[in-house]
Symmetry: C2
Subunit: 141 residues, 2 copies
DNA sequence: ATATTCTCGACCCTTTTAGTCGAGAAAGCA
DNA sequence: TGCTTTCTCGACTAAAAGGGTCGAGAATAT
């Protein structure tokens, strides 16, 4: 739900891939430059992202990263879920251990947290990567 | 939006005060015990909370903390806002500095973050402390 | 006086997050 | 073949955030 800098970088990297869809693999260095992300850090992030099945990479001269699905078929929710996993909100986050919950597992906070989480993921799930790609500036003549 | 352990402790402390409303000041040690919060840490938290105008304290023998408003008049939103301040969501959180935003301040993320934030605070604002106080177990005979 | 309870600032420790680095492996090119 | 490019992998470091503690002082009641 709360997105770290790293996870925002990941999203922006995917957006950049979406922006260049159809132009073949995009180099990490290119993404890093376009999105102002530290290069070596981005390498790590994209490496992780490969595990999601959303992107893949090719090495060598014409190498780089590319999307495995259309931008409109990738939701922010699916990316976020992959990056941080779904939090276990059935159990109240206020209680370190469930055994010593001061409300004896009848805790009103649990419902609050899960409602919040649901609201957030509703938004994430209805937002696709395509929605995040900036519109091309209209050509002037 | 994202609540730290500390901020959840704060909320639970207030809930405990609400639970005991009308019984005079509640000692920190009592709150700590009831809500399973580390005592010395709770002292710090309640000290901060005094600045919100929602609670106040009295020292000495019959001292302790107490609410300055009715539980139903305190929203979770007002507490959270005091604890963490409203994030500055007009500007995209992805960009370290606004000057070097790769999207040139026309960033689709900004809208996403603010929609998420709004959704979360809608829930926080419509939830009062009273809603979080567990129902008294019905007396059986 | 004295016991009680909040008050204040400084302090410490652990975990998370951000970011870097060097060497290696695949892919293309000459 | 050998050279260049670009991803790949694991280890590593640094900074920040978060959680929690402590001692001494100040108000309040008996």
């Amino acid at each position: 739900m709360y997105l770290t800098q790293r996870n925002q970088y990941a999203l922006r990297a995917i957006v950049e891939l979406a922006r260049q869809v159809g132009k073949g693999p995009v180099k990490v260095s290119e993404i890093a430059k376009a999105q102002a992300i530290p290069l070596r850090f981005l390498e790590v992030i994209l490496g992780q992202l490969k595990g999601s099945g959303l992107v893949d990479a090719k090495r060598g001269y014409y190498g780089g990263y590319f999307l495995l699905r259309q931008p409109e078929d990738i939701t922010v929710g699916s990316v976020v879920r992959f990056l941080q996993g779904e939090p276990d909100l059935k159990e109240c986050q206020s209680c370190i251990s469930n055994r010593q919950c001061p409300f004896e597992n009848n805790c009103a906070f649990a419902s609050l947290w899960s409602r919040v989480n649901e609201a957030v993921f509703n938004i994430y799930d209805e937002t696709t990567i395509k929605d995040l790609v900036p519109d091309e500036p209209v050509a002037r003549f």
